[in-house]
């Protein structure tokens, strides 16, 4: 490891905290990575009937944070870039 890396490395305590925040949001929502993966695949399947999706730019996750629309419960966040409409 280069000397400069010592200063660049993120403190492991912070790594632990952010990893925990992420895993707990899934735990609390009762939403495992497998379920998310299934939801993602189903969304892709349905949307692909109508539009062309950028599968690499896809971002789907479950948040537990208090957003205005979620009323304190978990919310599903999905960012799906569309390449173009599918011609019938």
């Amino acid at each position: 490891m280069a000397f400069a890396d010592l200063f660049r490395k993120k403190a492991s305590g912070d790594v632990a905290k952010s990893r925990l925040m992420f895993v707990l949001s899934a735990d609390r929502a009762g939403c495992t990575p497998e379920v998310i993966e299934n939801i993602k695949n189903d969304i892709i399947e349905v949307l692909s009937r109508y539009v062309e999706i950028d599968k690499d730019g896809l971002d789907i996750k479950v948040n537990h944070s208090d957003t205005e629309s979620s009323n304190g419960g978990p919310s599903l966040y999905a960012n799906i870039p569309i390449k173009g409409m599918r011609r019938k």
Binding site: A11, S12, G13, A16, K17, L20, V23
Partner: protein, 260 residues
């Protein structure tokens, strides 16, 4: 009328039994009448941590099954006038007892004692449900590690689902030197993640090992852990106590000659 407090964590090995022993002994030192109940059936441990392992005649399962009266099974700790232990059974398993029976036992003990402390087994199965059944409040013990905090979060969810009236957090085995250099989550981090009220922070202290070896809880002694546990006891009885500075005090020698 007494209060039943369950000490729980989800994950094993984070210090439930040590916490039960020290908080119970500390409350007895504050002149409260206390009984400690080891609810970990099959994996009896609170007796050795308390140094009372040679005095067991009857146990929790005997009381539940009606093979003896409660009074016969309670071991009086001779070092304190108001401290008793109800040991667990070593040869039975968790299904020998059910939550309804535990609730009834708690109700009876509440007539006699100020505080009834339940040492909960690890896990979220029947042993956990037995331990929380009669409890009025819960102390969730965790260490600042990802596995322990994750399990604590699960436990807090289960306590909420079981309508626990009051739940407080104890962050155990904190190492200030590691927190300072960023290699351990701080108690503030853990509180932020778990979002429940803190009731104590106990430092990682070698004296705990020594005290467990000897079977004498160190609460109230002139050690960092001893003071931290005593502070928890004061907070349990409703007093406000400031949090300790857990930064290790260096001796004269290391202050003079040691590295910074």
């Amino acid at each position: 009328m007494g209060e039943v407090i369950v000490i729980t964590s989800g994950k094993g090995g984070v210090g439930k039994t040590t916490t039960t022993a020290n908080v119970g002994t500390g409350l007895a030192k504050l002149d409260k009448k206390v009984v400690l109940i080891d609810t970990d059936i099959g994996l009896r441990n609170l007796d050795v941590v308390m140094g009372l392992e040679n005095r067991i005649v009857y146990n929790l399962v005997d009381v539940i099954e009606g093979s003896c009266r409660i009074k016969q099974a309670l071991i009086k700790d001779k070092r304190y006038p108001n401290l008793y232990l109800l040991p667990s059974a070593q040869t039975k398993d968790k299904t020998s007892v059910n939550p309804e029976q535990m609730k009834k036992l708690c109700e009876e003990l509440k007539e006699e004692f100020d505080y009834i402390l339940m040492d909960c087994p690890a896990g979220i199965e029947q042993g956990f449900h037995n331990a929380i059944a009669g409890a009025d409040r819960a102390l969730v013990v965790t260490t600042p590690e990802v596995s322990a905090v994750r399990d604590a979060d699960r436990i807090i969810g289960l306590l909420e689902a079981n309508e626990m009236k009051q739940t407080h957090l104890i962050v155990n085995r904190l190492r200030m030197d590691m927190v300072k250099r960023g290699d351990m989550m701080s108690s503030e981090d853990v509180v932020e993640i778990l979002a429940i009220d803190l009731i104590g922070v106990v430092p990682d202290d070698e004296n705990i090992v020594v005290s467990t070896n000897q079977g004498e809880p160190l609460v109230g002694s002139d050690t960092l852990a001893g003071k931290a546990y005593m502070n928890i006891c004061h907070r349990i009885i409703g007093e406000e106590v400031p949090y300790l500075d857990l930064t290790e005090k260096k001796g004269l020698f290391s202050r003079l000659f040691g590295k910074k």
